[in-house]
Amino acid sequence: MSAVATLRRSRRGGQPASRRLRPWYENRSLVAGLIIVGIMVLLAVLAPLISPDNPLHQNLDQALQGPSGSHWLGTDKLGRDVLSRLLYGARVDLKIGFLAVLIPFVVGSVLGAIAGYYGGWVDIIIMRVVDVFYAFPLYLLVIALVFVMGSGERSIYLAIALVSWVSYCKIVRGEVIVARRQEYVQAARLGGLKNLRVLARHVGPNVVSQAITYAMSDIIMDIMVIVTLGYLGLGITPPTAEWGSMISDAQEFITTLWWMAVLPGVAVVITGLGLSLIGDGLGDLMSPERRR
């Protein structure tokens, strides 16, 4: 009842008369995240130039060595240089992370936006489908699908895409429902703008930040999925240098040569940290009204 009234007057003067927009570079999380991920991307791009060795080059006489002058981070069980593999792994994992997130991001966001904006039956149907997929834990479906489709990069993309669009759908739908109630969206609609235009120009940009924030952590999730698939013997086809398969290869040495699993793990962690910082920062930046 008076919820309407409450909203009416509480905003009066909520903000100082002219709020200075904080420029993006003053956002500490965002900057830190960008630096971290930027370094990672740079390392990945420059891998052919800076890595000390060919990541596929085997040298069995030098297998399983600890860090040393010639191999800064040691060698794996085929005598390959771990540092080089880490650097090249960044290429594969960042690529997979971004690609695997892209399709579900787009598909999920679009469906979520449609469900949230139009509501009614469209919403009910889409959301029931989402609920169905949501009932299956990510790992379960991905593992089962990869088994069904056979291991390999393409199956992994496909399995992840099939499963993880639901999260984006849910997030974007929720945000769109909130945004739809915003007066500027109503104003746009009453201004006679077409639904698609309202969605794309007025709703979309204001709701996508949550999805992007989620995508950042989703990339990590996807890398984890790959790592776990590797553990179950379903990962990326060898001998490709890739963090997940490096971790799963090193799995048998966890109790002895522990750093072999830790190093790629650290790479994943750092990337994850960078991405979540970016996510946090973007969240702050893109929704100025949502103060932390």
Partner: protein, 310 residues
């Protein structure tokens, strides 16, 4: 309302479970029989599996069988899948519940601690450190915990499940902890922000203006209100926890649904795979419904009949 929604979802789940096996390229009977495949056996099994029928017919059969509690025979163990799954369900259930409890024990104090000084050093620590946990594969965390607490300190057994209930609790501690560690970052983050919301809310100010402070404020006004959003977050993450058991049960040699699933997948024991997927999905849906009910009990504002259009 949620219960009504759960019905179509349950049907959808059966469709997905059904398609999971029937989308496999080639004749499932052949891949099931593997080494022992002779044309005669393949034909016999195809008939037994009803593969000669049309897909919708097969699905109806499948539904009919489920309705009669008949989930088929396990090819590896040669026993009824239902009994196999039912044997495992309590194990996984206990593991999941256990990890939820541990997760709460970890995240509630940490998030309260962080929320008490937002923007401070401890807040940053609590927000960032768990991220590290997010980047560690669960199996890796599990083995490390084993190494330290089971082999090193000998406080816990190295995997297994035990015989009695108290043994179960002892055996499952480390795996449950591993799972708890893996979801805690998410939970801590959202708990922290819901606690912050509560702490900054007007009614906490009101409580302060009545002279409440410290523990009486926290227990009387903050906790319950902060827990309400947390309940749905926990509910959503139960699916993730169940997914985590797949790997964790492997690492800790726990005879739950997860290890049954992985084993069955590797052995192409499709009836078992279907049954586990079905049970897990139904479980997750049930948890969703349960979460809603708990939510309603905790939050007097929610009327079960009127959710969804809020």
């Amino acid at each position: 309302m949620r219960i009504v929604q759960a019905v179509p979802v349950a049907f959808g789940v059966t469709v997905v479970v059904f398609l999971l096996v029937h989308l496999i390229p080639g004749n499932p009977a052949e891949s099931i029989l593997g080494a022992q495949a002779t044309p005669a056996r393949v034909a016999a099994l195809s008939k037994q599996m009803g593969l000669d029928e049309s897909l919708p017919q097969q699905y109806l059969h499948f539904l009919d069988n489920i309705a009669h509690g008949n989930l088929g025979q396990s090819y590896t163990y040669q026993t009824s899948v239902l009994s196999l799954v039912l044997q495992r369900v309590p194990v996984t259930l206990l593991l999941v519940l256990y990890s939820v409890v541990l997760m709460l024990i970890i995240s509630v104090p940490l998030s309260a601690w962080a929320a008490s000084r937002p923007g401070g050093a401890r807040d940053h620590a609590v927000r960032v450190v768990p991220l590290v946990g997010l980047g560690m594969p669960q199996f890796w965390v599990g083995v490390m915990l084993l190494l330290v607490f089971a082999v090193g300190f000998k406080w816990f057994p190295v995997g297994g499940y035990g015989q009695t209930f108290s043994q179960h609790l002892w055996y499952l501690f480390l795996p449950a902890l591993t799972l708890a560690i893996s979801v805690s970052p998410v939970i801590i983050r959202s708990l922290r922000s819901s606690m912050l919301n509560v702490l900054e809310s007007d009614y906490v100010a009101t409580a302060r203006s009545k002279g409440a402070g410290g523990w009486s404020l926290f227990s009387g006004h903050v906790l319950r209100n902060a827990v309400i959003p947390a309940v749905s977050i926990v509910g959503v993450n139960v699916g993730y926890l169940v997914g985590g058991t797949l790997v964790i049960e492997q690492v800790f040699a726990i005879p739950g649904l997860g290890s049954l699933l992985i084993g069955s997948i590797q052995a192409r024991d499709f009836p078992s795979v279907q049954a586990v997927a079905l049970f897990v999905a139904v479980f997750v849906v049930a948890v969703g419904v349960l979460t809603d009910i708990v939510y309603t009990l905790l939050d007097p504002r929610v009327d079960l009949t009127r959710r969804g259009d809020v």
